[in-house]
Symmetry: C2
Subunit: 263 residues, 2 copies
Amino acid sequence: MRLIADNLRITQKAIETAVADKDALPLQTMAKRCQMAGANGIDINSGPLYRDPESRMAFMVEAVQEVTQLPLILDTSNPKALKAGLLACKTPATLNGLSLEPSKLEHILPLAVAHHAELVCYLLYPNGHVPPDSTERLNVAVSLYQKCLEAGVEPDRMIIDPVVVPLSWQNGLFQAREVLTVITTLPELLGFPVRTIAGLSNLTAGARDPIKKGLAELTYLPMLAAAGLSMILMNVLNAGSVRVARTCRLFSQESIFSWEMVG
Amino acid sequence: MRLIADNLRITQKAIETAVADKDALPLQTMAKRCQMAGANGIDINSGPLYRDPESRMAFMVEAVQEVTQLPLILDTSNPKALKAGLLACKTPATLNGLSLEPSKLEHILPLAVAHHAELVCYLLYPNGHVPPDSTERLNVAVSLYQKCLEAGVEPDRMIIDPVVVPLSWQNGLFQAREVLTVITTLPELLGFPVRTIAGLSNLTAGARDPIKKGLAELTYLPMLAAAGLSMILMNVLNAGSVRVARTCRLFSQESIFSWEMVG
């Protein structure tokens, strides 16, 4: 399980200001902190970037690339920003992401094909709503898989996001269990070692109590790992979560284990 | 997932002395602390009880029953002690436990039948050794299941322990993963909702660093829960572990969930 930093997000005021001012330092400081903390990749969440999408995404990518060689995930619904980000990326980038929403199929899928990019695929209905259970998510996965194949995206460039929803939703806990089922079922269903990604902080979105948030996340994280999750999108500056994620990784990988590696 | 306290064990000096002196207070204090901490059952680990097995186990059971009505698990390899414990128990007790070891089959299986007791069944080879992987454990499970059926133990009175081994073993990490596979596979293999139990502290037996021990246990616990474990045998006086175990329970049960219940 690879750790993807979700820390570089435009919803953080300091990042928003830095992007508007084209001030690289705050982005670079954050990127370096994420790398130091053990991130295996960085999600650049620029938001929709209604103004100057191309120059702003290119700026973000270039700023981050000056201080780290970690793989980047370009996280925006704006196809213009995605394209600019792809062009600015020195290393193969991942687009975040595709879904069955018509606008995404129309604009993002061709981008992935043209740039041979990896592609996060969300298990959402064509209207953007979250399916109610694992069966419906798996149906969506089959449709998305077919769309990708038809367009020319090889299966090993797909990274499926089963969509973690907040526990505070009326059926949030059920959904959390269904997500685990989806992760374990996908490889058998699609017939190849499907890679998966999940956003851990979604689980406690909207919740205020930091102790409860931490407890819920630290409990769910090993469940995701045991289900076979490939990539966890998380706050890598939370040292406790990172320690658990790294321990999860020891449990879930086939490589040599040493007790010394725990911690 | 039910929390079974492993705290009442003769290897603790205070408990050993209390049993030798027939001093009920230390046992009762511990039992009450376990109940307060959220235990759903108490494992009475008396050790082999070479001296006075009957009177000592009866004393332990009676002492504990005076202060709590929690279900008791009688944990000793000594059939005389098990029988005395069963006779002293006011509520249905669980025997801990059976394996394919000939002496266990000869002495403990008939006891379970005669007293209609529940029975922890260890997935060990007839020589008491730990099987190397999940396939071998599942083979043992089938053999044990047949032995129980032949003897007259109904499937719903079996509680299978897949045997967690220390991570410090050369293949400890592999074994930890195999145990998860066993827990998820058993219901399908045996064709009924098999109950399972696992000893969490076994995972870090022999390890000294308390931070690493805690991290390994807190990471593995949700994996066990997500695999469908029915009962976790653990130190219920470790408040951090209990908080995670209770959160696991929220994630793994079908009942109504409220964010307020986290914590």
